[in-house]
């Protein structure tokens, strides 16, 4: 299989979509395509192939969201890239009140097949306004699908599914995943929503991790294996829909659960998974669940302060140790 970077895999998914469906457009093209590791001739070829479907709009996140929603309702299949995730907060009304409601409010008569993509996460020096991991906020929308790819292959396959989906879909890419490389199947392919990936098998503890935290969880699992603790790492890949069966099956096997998500711990993806397991697999638990997440504080600029609140492999190891001792 070819080796690709996460960023190039995403671009390839988009390129396949542009080629196969004339109603696909990319709004916010520059920050999606440029300086993302494409060979210059490949990037040029894309711009040349789709001169009126790769669009750089004004810095107008609000109306761009309305624009793609309206266009999606009127027969297109647009893809909006916001750049940094916090810029999408400019469009919260348009996402939450307009896009998320289209299908239900129309009694199922209308749909909004659109993809909203953003670069998120604690990225180093992003400070208060460029460090958001907003996944739980979108998970709480009721009406949006939510995709958190964690590997180059999933970046391509899940993005392709997001564009094909007839629902409004939010895709959140952790900035620090962009340079990650990995094997990606040849050609055009889609990865179905709602199917978790078992990133590592293990018998002692289940770690459910999202996005960049999958990599940290895998690092932690390697460290724990040195001490004879075998962690199973589950990557849900999509939060809406969520593969609840895969999570519960794993917890039934291991009896222990640690969740790892970079968002704020309060009302988080980790909270939801913990609640799910408490409701559906309580009897299998041998120890309290532990959540690894950022504390509920804005991110400070100074490097030691940022490091202090950033979830990482060491914090996952500590969380697993805690649940193993309980």
């Amino acid at each position: 299989m070819p080796i690709k970077s996460f960023a190039v895999a995403m671009i390839d998914a988009l390129a396949h979509s542009l080629r196969s469906d004339p109603n696909v457009v990319l709004i916010g093209a520059h920050s999606f395509l440029s300086d993302r590791g494409l060979r210059p001739e490949d990037e040029r070829a894309l711009w040349d192939a789709f001169p009126d479907r790769l669009i750089d709009p004004p810095t107008s996140e609000g109306v761009c969201t309305s624009l793609v929603t309206g266009a999606a309702m009127a027969g297109m299949r647009p893809f909006l890239n916001y750049g940094t995730a916090t810029f999408a907060f400019e469009a919260f009304n348009q996402i939450m009140s307009e896009a998320a409601n289209v299908s239900l409010m129309s009694g199922g008569q209308l749909r909004a097949p659109m993809t909203l993509h953003m670069f998120a996460g604690i990225r180093g020096g992003g400070a208060g306004q460029h460090s958001s991991s907003p996944q739980a906020m979108y998970a709480n929308s009721a009406g949006l699908e939510l995709v958190l790819p964690a590997s180059p292959a999933d970046a391509q396959g899940l993005l392709r599914s997001a564009i094909k989906s007839d629902n409004p879909t939010v895709v959140i890419t952790h900035t620090r995943l962009l340079s990650m490389t990995g094997e990606v199947p040849d050609g055009d392919f889609s990865t179905p929503f709602g199917q978790a990936r078992i990133a590592r098998e293990g018998r002692d503890v289940t770690i459910v991790a999202t996005s960049l935290m999958v990599r940290e969880a895998l690092k932690a699992a390697e460290a724990l294996a040195q001490d004879g603790v075998e962690a199973e790492v589950i990557d849900p890949r999509t939060i809406i829909p969520l593969d609840t069966a895969a999570i519960c099956t794993s917890v039934r096997k291991t009896g222990r659960l640690v969740t790892v998500d970079e968002g704020n711990a309060l009302c988080s993806i980790g909270s939801e998974i913990a609640a799910l397991v408490a409701e559906q697999a309580f009897d299998a638990l041998k120890a309290p669940i532990v959540r690894v997440a950022r504390p509920p504080v804005p991110i400070a600029f100074s490097p030691p302060l940022e490091a202090y609140v950033t979830p990482n492999a060491d914090k996952v190891v500590a969380a697993v140790r805690k649940t193993m001792q309980a």
Partner: protein, 327 residues
């Protein structure tokens, strides 16, 4: 206050040497993204030096120059950029969120359009509290792309709020654009909302001084908001993520030395507001070459001291990350 070529040039040089030091420190300390105000000195200095105690200032990602222009301690500003405990915000804000309320700085927002929105709130409070102060919104042409610009201008006009909207327009048609407005005339938007507008050459401190003086008089006189567009020439390095000395280290002698003024940076040097101003002030006899060299030496010395302070300042304790969310 009468316009002082000497004080203005001194401040402009301090702003320039500050940003050049940021380029150096970014390399030494492997800092991330900065947005430097090189080339914006004439506007920043001549505008912010006119503000009074009690005026409130709201700035953007390109904030360093504004802070230094207003007289913020350059050591504390550099320390903030390095994330140190001795920084303006204890290292928590960094380059993008420096504030100094003692000098009126309420906010640096790195969200395009952030400052223009908050400034309306400042103006609302100043009017309500009858302080006589002015809220100054500094923003780039890009802010006018955002819906909040329209909303803010409208409400400021509707309520006759004491707000000076000061737009640093560094977009030029046919070149790298930071705004995509359907009109090429930025002031057409506020003018349609009945806001008094003017445009000024933002590279000419004397013209800026006059224009800002008139704008402030209008706002302080209780006549509602004012929109001033400063037309700036974009510094060729301004798009870089990690900055380089794209146009070399500034050499003030290029203001009169013909050989230096025709080197590979000649085109920039013709537009460089510092070299332009020094040249003009020498030509009209307001300053001598020796004055300019001495002012530059002072600026360099102050910035060297600022660096020493910033680098000696310790990092905050990691646990400080959790403190100060609520008061």
């Amino acid at each position: 206050m009468a316009f002082s070529p000497r004080a203005t040039l001194a401040r402009m040089l301090l702003m320039r040497r500050f940003e050049e030091m940021v380029i150096t420190l970014a390399r030494v300390h492997k800092l991330g993204r900065q947005h430097l105000a090189i080339g914006n000195e004439a506007l920043g200095a001549a505008a912010l030096m006119q503000l009074a105690d009690g005026d409130l200032i709201y700035t953007t990602h390109r904030n360093h120059g504004h802070m230094i222009a207003r007289g913020v301690d350059s050591g504390k500003a550099l320390a903030e950029i390095l994330g140190r405990a001795g920084g303006l915000c204890g290292g928590k804000g960094g380059t993008w969120h420096m504030t100094d309320p003692a000098l009126g700085f309420q906010s640096t927002s790195a969200m395009v359009g952030g400052s223009i929105g908050l400034s309306v709130g400042g103006g609302f409070a100043l009017k309500h509290r009858k302080t006589g102060g002015v809220a100054v919104a500094l923003f780039g042409d890009g802010a006018l792309d955002e819906g909040i610009a329209y909303e803010a201008l409208n409400i400021a006009s509707l309520y006759a709020l004491p707000v000076l909207f000061l737009c640093e327009n560094n977009s030029k048609e046919g070149e790298a654009q930071t705004s995509r407005l359907a009109t090429k005339e930025l002031t057409a938007v506020p003018r349609a909302l009945k806001i008094v507008c003017a445009s000024v050459d933002g590279g000419n401190p004397k013209a800026v001084d006059r224009a800002v003086g008139a704008a402030l008089a209008h706002v302080r006189g209780g006549n509602g908001p004012y929109f001033l567009e400063a037309q700036l020439v974009r510094w060729p390095g301004s798009h870089q993520i990690v900055h380089e000395f794209t146009t070399g280290v500034t050499d003030v002698t290029a203001a009169w030395d013909k050989a230096k003024a025709s080197n590979e940076h000649a085109e920039w040097q013709r537009n460089d507001p510092i070299l332009r101003f020094a040249h003009d002030m020498i030509a009209c006899g307001a300053l001598t070459r020796e004055d300019v060299v001495a002012l530059d030496a002072d600026a360099n010395a102050m910035i060297a001291k600022a660096r020493t302070f910033a680098e000696a300042s310790p990092f905050p304790k990691p646990e400080a990350a959790l403190a100060g969310v609520f008061v």
